[in-house]
Structures are given as structure tokens and as C-alpha cells.
């Protein structure tokens, strides 16, 4: 009912996945699945509504741009996805779910039998039930215990212990003791305790893994896969699409307006404006003409140009930034999660207690059997269920709540680190600002002019036209009827309306796009006479002021660190009341963070561009907007979706609240242990008590974590 129908056929089919963020409803699913198959080369289309991806089965002759075009015909923007590490991570979630399922089956069925034993079955019935429990428990423990046994074995090989060592020892010892008990017709078999232990711990691990899957799918859906390739012009003047990996120096690529460059190069035909904001943070586009150098990752914001490639892949300027990022990320991997820190104390303590109780009872003359039973009871009752479940439960609930408020958290350690930050470094272009031109003088334009502007702007993919079109359509403007529309590359759009020639394009008195007061302008002219100029600027995001104030309230020392010039950053810094460092290179930003870390400060980095990449990887925690470069999105811990800046403060509040809940859960767990361990040592812990204690403590801890769901943290 839900799975894709297997496709049979003689031709070899390729499966390509696309991220389609605009899928919103059932109608989209049927539209895509039915509509895409109409295309000659596409055999089957399957929409995954949860991850907002579409999987296409097509024959080898269809190229990526053709397939993207098929989506565009239906009105959807599609971005091709590579076969990244997605499959291995998904497999680990699946394995955990399977182990959880088996443990659940085992636990319930053994409990079925245990209840009658607890209620007083004895003699041959009890023996029978114990044997049956053993029959169920042994394969279940062998299968579901593998994640723990493997991890414990790996830790022991490296001569350290982690959380999994006492768990594995506890489970194995319990099983052996219970088998012995069963064989000697004893009264207490702890099979249910051992399997229940595995069940709760697997539940915690599985929640953790699901949280990471959800976040990763969310991020993948946003990746635009910039510069997947380019249109290459060959000697005969024919153009064909070539993937990024296959680009070579010396090839000539045609870069259209609004397209990102896939490689470094030199302009051999045409001149244009290059928007390098994603690369360097400079908000003003720079004009580049014949012979000028252009870099991979920048946006062609002017006219189509032909570029001869001078460097690809690892040799491009951005590759250096990528290397810097790789080095910066090393520091991050040394962070130890709070659960693991607890485990470092916990594991040896538990082992010691069990050993001491064993020794104590032996000395008191109780004999091997009884002493071992007590030691097993101690190991089981100090079950780290509460610990193993508490942290993932709290984090996944918090992550879910945050997702509803527009913030994607990549994993649990991100929440922990976010709660610890005490200072913030904020980028300007694209982070504090929207990173795209928006119309600033809409009020000066009359409705009639707006109508003409929309009619012209609709026919161009130039970034300024797109912005104008979005703004006017949002205002509900109806486009005037025009005829004979054509776009003159680099000059503008021209059309006929009521017998007049109207044009939207570069202001006529300058050669390239005029940059006036930091704003970009286009001009509407009728019959050659300028009527009105539309000014654009990179506006601040909504809620920036209130968020910066909130950050101050939360005790964060905030500072702007931008790659843009002093003139561009100063007004923003003044409005928000923040100090600013300007004209920074990626290396500079990284050094600021390293200096702060040396002073034992924990820095939150908020940035979007390639130039923020190393800083995003090095900061104690980092947040990027959904509109960030792919590198920024991959390096950051959290992404805030949408235009508003507010999720940043919400994230910090929520992270701190989550840490509070985690601490409460630890307190509950320790409190429970303080009561339970003496009971175990004095021999009062029977399998019934162990089962109740484990379920009880796990439920309490998860219940406490659920409080984060109704958190009104803003």
C-alpha cells in the first residue's frame, strides 16, 4: 500500500533522487507522480512526503537538466541529490529499530510467563516457565544485545570503558546466573530484567538515531547543490551540460544571469556584475569585464558571459576554505556528550559496587550462589535506563518543538553545546540581512507603474527582476497586458504597451548597474524617457532588533564579524548597537574564534556564506540560515528556516531549558539509585522489584522530558 511498486523492464534504469522543498500536500504528490511519468524518459516517480524528496527511475539517456526541466514544467523546483552517506546512517536507524522490535517481543512474552511466577507459581510450573523464558531470552539477547556488545568490546580493546561495558557485563552475567538458577530449580530468574534492560536502552539509542535522521533529511531538502555543473560550449558552438566532476581547465562555460559558477575562470566574452556575497560577504556586486577573474560559487548577477575555466574542484579558491573547515571541525569532534561524561563516572562506580557487594556477602558467608545473585541484582538495578533514555528523550522532544518554531537541530550534542555559549559572533550579509536584494522604495511607485513593472519583470530571471516580481505579486498587483516582450541580455526587458515602448533595465546614464547609496537600481522608461527608478537593498531580516536584544538579555556578548566593507557594515552595527569587525577573510574569522576559545569563552557562530564555513565548524556551537551556502549548511549545528531571525534566541532558550530537564532527569536517576542500591545489596531485589523499578524510572524520566513539548520559551 505504501511501498513503491517494483519496476520491471528490459532497459537498464537509473534511479536519481531530487530534493523538492515545495511539496506541500496530497495534490502535489499525485501531480508529481502522474505528471513526471508523462515525460518520455521517466518510467516511474515516487514521492517521499516526509523527506520532501522524489525518486525517479529513468533511462540513461536523460540528463540531469532535462529531469530538472520536467519538474519545472509541473511548477516545482528540484535539486539533484548525490548518494551521500544517507544510506549507511539510515541502515543504523533500521538496525536499531529491528533490535528494538525483537527486544520488545522478547520482553513482552517473557513478562507473560514471569507474571505467573511472581504471583506464586512454583514447582514444575515455575521450572517450565523459566525454561521457556530462557528459550525466548537467549536468541533475543544475542540479537538485540549486539549494538552494546560490539561497542563495549571496542572500548575494552582500547583499554577504556564506556556506558556499554557495565550494560554488557550486567546482561551477560544476569543471563548466565538465570540459566544456572533455572537448571538448579531456583526461584529467581532475571531473564525479564535483562531483556527489559536492553529494550529501554535500545529505545534511547533509537530515538537518538531518529532525531539525527530527521535533521539530516531536513538539511538535505535544503541543499541546492550549487554548481552541480555547467553548460559547456564546444568548438562547434554547441552547448552541452557537464557535471562539476567532469569539468576541466580550458573548457568554455556559458554562465547565464542568476546562475552560480561551477569553477574558477576568466571571462572571454561579455561583461557582467558578480555577486560574491556567499563567498566573501561583500554585499555590493562587483563589475567584471573581459579578462577578469571569476570564482566558483559566486553568482552571475548581470549578463550572460562566456568563461574559460582556469581551476576546478580542489584547485578553486573555495577549496582552500573547505580545507580550513576540515581542520576547524577537528576541534568539534573532541566534545564529549553529557551522557558519555556521566558514563565515565558511572561505569567504574557500578562495577565497584557490584564487586564490593559480591565480596561482602562472600565474606559474610553466603556462598557463591547467593553472592553472585546479589551482584547481579546490583548490576540490574543500577540499570542506566534512566540515563540512557533521559538524554535522548529530552533532546528529541526539544528538537521536535524547535522544528515547529522554525529551527532544525542536527543532533543532541548541538543542543548541549548551544546551552553553554556565552558569546556570539554574527555575520552580516545573508545572516543579519536577507542576502538578496529587496525593493526599498515601493511606496514611491504608483499603482499604474507597478502594474507595468510586474509585466516586464515577469519575463526575466535576473535577480533584481525576480525580487521585484516577488514583491509586486505579494502586494497583489495585476500585471498590465503587454506585447512584443523581449529581453536584451544585460540591458533589460522591453515591451510594447498601448503603443508605447516600455523598458525596465539599467538606468540609462550609467554603463553598468548603478550603485547609489549602497542600493542597486533599475529604471522604468517609456519611449526612452525615464519614469521611475526602483531601488533595491539588502534589507535586515525581520525581528533582528528584538533578537539581538534578547541575546543581550540571555547574557551573550554579541559582535558582528563581516567580510563586507566598513561603510556597508557601519549602519547595521549602529542600528543594532553592536561592535563590528569588517573586511574579514575566512581565516580572520577563524582566528577570532580561536582567540576567544583560548580565553575559555564558548562562542556561538551565526553565519551563512562560504567565508563563514571555517568559523561555523570551529565555533562551540553554530547556526546558519536556511538560505546559506551548502558548505555553511553542512558545517552548522542548527539551521533556522524562513526569513525571520527570531529562531536564534528561541534556540538558546530552549537549549538551556533542555539542559535543565536533563539535569533534573539525572537527579531523578541518581535519587532512584540511592534508594535502589542499598535494597539490592541487602538482597531485597527480586526480579519483580527489578522490573518495576526499571519501568518506573524510565517512565518518570521520559514523562519529565515530555514537558519540553509544551515549552513556551520565547
Amino acid at each position: 500500500m505504501n511501498a513503491p511498486y517494483p519496476v520491471t523492464g528490459s532497459a537498464a534504469l537509473i534511479q536519481t533522487r531530487f530534493a523538492v522543498p515545495d511539496i506541500r500536500c496530497a495534490g502535489c504528490i499525485s501531480k508529481l507522480e502522474k505528471g513526471l511519468v508523462q515525460h518520455d524518459n521517466i518510467v516511474q516517480a515516487r514521492v517521499n512526503f516526509t523527506t520532501k524528496q522524489v525518486s525517479l527511475d529513468h533511462d540513461a539517456s536523460a540528463s540531469v537538466p532535462e529531469l530538472v526541466g520536467a519538474f519545472a514544467l509541473l511548477g516545482f523546483e528540484a535539486h539533484p541529490l548525490g548518494d551521500m552517506a544517507r544510506d549507511t546512517d539510515q541502515a543504523s536507524s533500521r538496525d536499531l529499530a529491528k533490535a528494538l522490535g525483537v527486544a520488545g517481543f522478547g520482553m513482552m512474552n517473557i513478562m507473560l510467563l514471569s507474571v505467573s511466577v511472581w504471583s506464586g507459581a512454583d514447582g514444575i510450573t515455575r521450572d517450565l516457565f523459566h525454561w521457556l523464558s530462557a528459550l525466548i531470552a537467549l536468541p533475543v539477547i544475542a540479537y538485540s544485545g549486539r549494538p552494546f556488545f560490539k561497542s563495549a568490546w571496542n572500548a575494552l580493546k582500547r583499554r577504556t570503558t564506556n556506558m556499554d561495558v557495565p550494560i554488557s557485563i550486567g546482561v551477560l552475567l544476569t543471563t548466565v546466573m538465570s540459566l544456572y538458577e533455572t537448571a538448579t530449580h531456583g526461584p529467581h530468574a532475571y531473564f525479564d530484567g535483562a531483556v527489559m534492560l536492553l529494550f529501554f536502552l535500545l529505545a534511547g539509542r533509537w530515538l537518538d538515531s531518529v532525531m539525527r535522521d530527521r535533521a539530516r533529511d531536513g538539511v538535505t531538502a535544503l541543499l541546492r547543490n550549487m554548481g552541480t555543473g555547467a553548460l559547456i560550449l564546444d568548438d562547434r558552438g554547441q552547448s552541452r551540460w557537464v557535471d562539476s566532476e567532469s569539468l576541466k581547465t580550458g573548457m568554455v562555460m556559458i554562465v547565464a544571469a542568476g546562475e552560480r559558477l561551477a569553477a574558477d575562470g576568466e571571462i572571454i566574452h561579455g561583461e557582467t556584475l558578480i555577486d560574491a556575497s556567499l563567498l566573501t560577504g561583500e554585499s555590493a556586486p562587483v563589475s567584471v569585464s573581459l579578462g577578469g577573474t571569476v570564482h566558483a560559487g559566486t553568482l552571475n548577477a548581470g549578463a550572460p558571459v562566456e568563461v574559460r575555466i582556469t581551476a576546478t574542484g580542489h584547485d578553486t579558491a573555495i577549496a582552500d576554505i573547505a580545507r580550513l573547515m576540515g581542520e576547524a571541525a577537528q576541534g568539534r569532534s573532541r566534545y564529549v556528550r553529557i551522557a558519555d561524561r556521566a558514563a565515565r563516572l558511572y561505569a567504574p562506580a557500578v562495577h565497584l559496587l557490584a564487586l564490593l557487594s559480591f565480596a561482602g556477602w562472600m565474606i559474610a558467608g553466603a556462598g557463591w550462589h547467593h553472592s553472585l545473585l546479589i551482584a547481579v541484582a546490583v548490576l540490574i538495578i543500577t540499570c542506566p535506563c534512566a540515563l540512557g533514555l533521559a538524554v535522548p528523550a529530552a533532546q528529541i522532544v526539544a528538537a521536535g518543538t524547535l522544528m515547529r518554531r522554525g529551527l532544525l537541530v542536527k543532533d543532541g550534542s548541538a543542543l548541549e553545546r548551544l546551552a553553554e555559549v556565552d558569546s556570539a559572533l554574527i555575520d552580516k550579509t545573508g545572516t543579519l540581512t536577507l542576502g538578496r536584494p529587496t525593493v526599498i522604495n515601493l511606496a514611491e511607485i504608483s499603482p499604474k507603474e507597478q502594474s507595468l513593472l510586474l509585466a516586464l519583470a515577469r519575463h526575466s530571471r535576473h535577480p533584481l527582476s525576480e525580487s521585484l516580481r516577488h514583491t509586486l505579486e505579494a502586494e497583489g498587483v495585476i500585471a498590465a497586458t503587454v506585447s512584443h516582450v523581449h529581453e536584451i541580455a544585460g540591458m533589460g526587458v522591453q515591451a510594447q504597451s498601448n503603443g508605447h515602448m516600455i523598458r525596465l533595465g539599467r538606468p540609462s546614464h550609467t554603463a553598468t548597474g548603478s550603485v547609489k547609496n549602497g542600493a542597486m537600481t533599475t529604471e522604468l522608461s517609456v519611449n526612452g524617457k525615464a519614469i521611475i527608478q526602483v531601488q533595491f537593498a539588502d534589507a535586515l531580516r525581520p525581528d533582528v532588533q528584538s533578537t539581538v536584544d534578547e541575546l543581550r538579555e540571555l547574557g551573550l556578548n554579541a559582535m558582528i564579524a563581516s567580510g563586507d566593507t566598513n561603510e556597508a557594515v557601519a549602519p547595521v552595527a549602529r542600528t543594532l548597537g553592536l561592535t563590528a569587525l569588517t573586511s574579514l577573510t575566512p581565516q580572520d574569522k577563524l582566528e577570532i574564534i580561536q582567540r576567544q576559545s583560548a580565553m575559555k569563552r564558548k562562542v556561538l557562530m551565526i553565519g551563512d556564506g562560504m567565508n563563514d564555513g571555517p568559523a561555523l565548524a570551529a565555533g562551540h556551537a553554530s547556526i546558519a540560515p536556511g538560505s546559506a551556502s551548502d558548505a555553511g549548511k553542512n558545517a552548522a549545528d542548527c539551521l533556522f528556516l524562513g526569513d525571520s531571525f527570531a529562531p536564534v534566541a528561541i534556540a538558546i532558550r530552549m537549549a538551556r531549558r533542555t539542559q535543565n530537564i536533563v539535569r533534573q532527569n539525572f537527579t531523578l536517576a541518581i535519587g532512584y539509585n540511592i534508594i535502589a542500591v542499598p535494597l539490592a545489596i541487602s538482597g531485597y531485589v527480586t526480579p519483580l522489584i527489578a522490573a518495576l523499578a526499571m519501568s518506573g524510572s524510565s517512565l518518570i524520566v521520559v514523562g519529565n522530558a515530555m514537558r519540553l513539548k509544551w515549552e513556551r520559551s520565547a
Partner: protein
């Protein structure tokens, strides 16, 4: 006791059936798109006109 000899294997057998079903469902990608399954109910299939009344 006679009853138990019969009932316990039945109970375990049914449990194993359930577990087997769970494993099949996982392998068959039934759980990959939970939101999609919920929403596909609302799709209209009869636009192509190839379903019998």
C-alpha cells in the same frame, strides 16, 4: 496443564508472526514515508477514468 501445553506455543507463535510482520514491513520500506502514507488517502485516483465503477 494440558491447556498450557497448547496455549503457550500458540501465544509464542502469534507473537513471532507479529515480529515477522514487523521485519517484513521494515524490509519493504513501509516505514520510510509515514507522513506520505497519511496524506495519500486524500488523493483522488479516478481522474484517469480507468477504474471500474
Amino acid at each position: 496443564m494440558n491447556g498450557l501445553i497448547f496455549l503457550i506455543p500458540v501465544a509464542l507463535g502469534l507473537g513471532l508472526l507479529g515480529l515477522g510482520g514487523f521485519f517484513w514491513a521494515m524490509r519493504n520500506s513501509q516505514y520510510d514515508d509515514m507522513d506520505g502514507a497519511a496524506v495519500r488517502i486524500l488523493m483522488d485516483d479516478d481522474e484517469d477514468g480507468d477504474t471500474l465503477p
